[in-house]
């Protein structure tokens, strides 16, 4: 489905944010869901690419969604070169969302992983949940949307591996510090929602199980279809294989068999 680009803004050397119209024919997206995007009609690259919904808003009768993307290959390069008024080809929204229930939410993002978590933060604030965010990246230019998170009222800490912004270190160090400093009682009320590179998610998972907090991880697998047709995006869970695009991309850390 062709959707019109309303805005496309460069945020740093390799990150951009795009706002697109959200046609009435599409269901309203939930935080954690994603869309499948295609920028060319040629057959290389062949597949659509998944992008988490970064934000969503309605104004009057019309709606728009935002995507936050890191420019890494042909599709994201094409996206970066798309001007407002042009269109992109998008299907969705697909997949399961993050968990909006729970007393206290900790959002943990690595690099472009902040994309779906910003939308989650917005919905959690609308639902008047208690929340905080921890955003990490290798360097300053990979840490996105910190001000925007604070603006919508989400307390946000930052870590970079090179120390160029916030605390020097991994975002999971922030998480470890946070979990360490609180009581067992309070930990029961916490839901960690995380998105980022696999190594980071594994550490989040490890911390969550060590401190006995719930964790929901948004996984990144290769996806040919994004909607359950190809059975290619399999994730190993304790009860067998699951499709990342349909049962995920958000999984309980507990069910994953890593």
């Amino acid at each position: 489905m062709k959707v019109r680009v309303e805005e496309n803004r460069r945020l740093s050397a390799d990150f951009q944010r795009m706002r697109v119209e959200w046609p009435g024919a599409l269901p309203e997206p939930l935080p954690g869901q994603f869309v499948m995007v295609r920028t060319r009609s040629s057959t290389d690259p062949l597949w659509r690419r998944p992008f988490g919904v970064h934000d969503f808003s309605r104004r009057g009768g019309s709606a728009s969604a935002a995507l936050l993307y890191q420019v890494v290959g042909p599709t994201t390069r094409d996206l970066a070169a798309t001007a407002a008024g042009e269109s992109i080809d998008l299907l969705g929204p697909f997949g399961s969302g993050f968990d909006l229930r729970g007393k206290e939410h900790w959002l943990v993002a690595g690099g472009r992983g902040v994309a779906p978590l910003f939308f989650l933060a917005r919905r959690l604030i609308e639902g008047v949940r208690s929340l905080r965010a921890m955003i990490g990246g290798c360097t300053e230019s990979h840490v996105m949307q910190v001000e925007e998170l604070r603006e919508i009222g989400c307390p946000t800490e930052v870590a970079t591996e090179d120390g160029s912004l916030g605390r020097r270190g991994m975002v999971t160090d922030l998480l470890a510090g946070g979990l360490e400093g609180i009581s067992d009682e309070r930990r029961k009320d916490i839901v960690v929602s995380a998105c980022g590179p696999e190594g980071m998610l594994r550490r989040v998972s490890g911390l969550a199980s060590a401190y006995a907090v719930a964790a929901r991880l948004s996984l990144d697998t290769l996806m040919a279809c994004g909607q359950g047709y190809c059975q290619g995006c399999t994730v190993k869970t304790r009860s067998g294989y699951s499709l990342c695009c349909r049962e995920g991309p958000v999984f309980d850390a507990e069910v994953l068999s890593w």
Binding site: T43, P45, A224, Q227, G228, C230, T234, Y241
Partner: protein, 306 residues
């Protein structure tokens, strides 16, 4: 005034209102395609390959993108024939879908039992026998890579069912014509060509195979020239109707197969990218017939001038 063209696809004992099917393994059990158009508009839906028992399939990673194609090693994951009949088929029938069931076994006996079970079920318009499966008795070789084994599988299924029987051939052979003849000798009503080409990719950073299974099946536009060639070779080898599949991305591609001799076509990998594409292909074929002054699909089938 434009005269509507007759798009009826004639596949021996099987007749379909139009020649555009969805290929096995690329539309799950068909129901998943409903958001992109009413299922009864599709020529036929070939559901994911079914085995006797539910099968988990191969470990991940199972797919990788290649130039204008993809490799998959899904490993024929499926819910099993009984669950299909119980949970999926009734819904498909309700929607008016024409259902073709793709089956695979690891022994002749498994093929026989599948044919028996499905032979009794209502609301299935044909069986498609997938012979691109490892022949347990013959090591790495597939049933479909050997003429005699091919014939034996098809005979085994044929004995157990009177339903229209399609046999789906692998391109990974020296002589497609030979396998086509064996399938027809075994009792096939029509042949489907082609299944995926065997391929492999390496992740150079980790120095591991890109697929956990090492080998996978190549599909998508990259293989279309090979698929058209196989179809044409089969056409010269056997007199039965043929179904073309491999890399069809749009109506123009479907027409290549039809002109080369296909009575119908299947869309596979394209469903992942443009799930509603089948409708445009149907319309594109109709438009072509009208533009070229033809009133029925049969005038176009095999019209290639050498």
């Amino acid at each position: 005034m434009v005269v509507p063209a007759d798009l009826t696809a004639r596949l021996g004992p099987l007749t379909l209102p139009n020649p555009v099917m969805l290929a096995s393994g690329t539309c799950a059990y068909g129901l998943e395609m409903e958001p992109y158009g009413d299922l009864d508009g599709i020529g036929a839906i070939v559901v994911k390959g079914l085995s006797l028992e539910r099968s988990e399939g191969n470990p991940p990673p199972r797919i990788v993108e290649t130039p204008s194609g993809m490799l998959n090693s899904i490993g024929l994951e499926n819910i099993g024939v009984e669950a299909f009949l119980r949970d999926k088929l009734p819904l498909l029938r309700e929607k008016g879908a024409r259902v073709i069931v793709n089956i695979y076994g690891q022994t002749l006996d498994e093929y026989r039992r599948l044919a028996e079970i499905l032979g009794g079920a209502e609301g299935i318009c044909a069986l498609e026998v997938n012979i691109s499966c490892p022949n347990v008795k013959k090591g790495g070789l597939l049933f479909g890579q050997d003429g005699r084994e091919t014939r034996r599988v098809v005979e085994a299924v044929r004995e157990k069912t009177a339903r229209p029987l399609l046999v789906k051939l692998t391109p990974n052979v020296t002589d497609v014509g030979e396998i086509a003849r064996a399938a027809v000798d075994g009792g096939a009503d029509a042949l489907t060509l082609i299944n995926t080409l065997q391929g492999m990719a390496v992740d150079v950073e980790s120095r591991r195979p890109a697929l956990a299974n090492v080998l996978g099946g190549l599909s998508g536009p990259a293989i279309r020239p090979v698929a058209v060639r196989c179809l044409w070779q089969a056409r010269r080898a056997v007199p039965v109707p043929l179904i073309g599949v491999g890399g069809i991305h749009g109506a123009r591609d479907a027409l290549e197969f039809i002109i080369a001799g296909a009575s119908a076509v299947q869309l596979g990998t394209v469903n992942f990218i443009y799930p509603g594409r089948w409708r445009e292909v149907v319309e594109g074929i109709e438009g072509y017939l009208q533009r070229h002054g033809m009133t029925s699909l049969s005038q176009l089938v095999g019209s290639l001038e050498i």
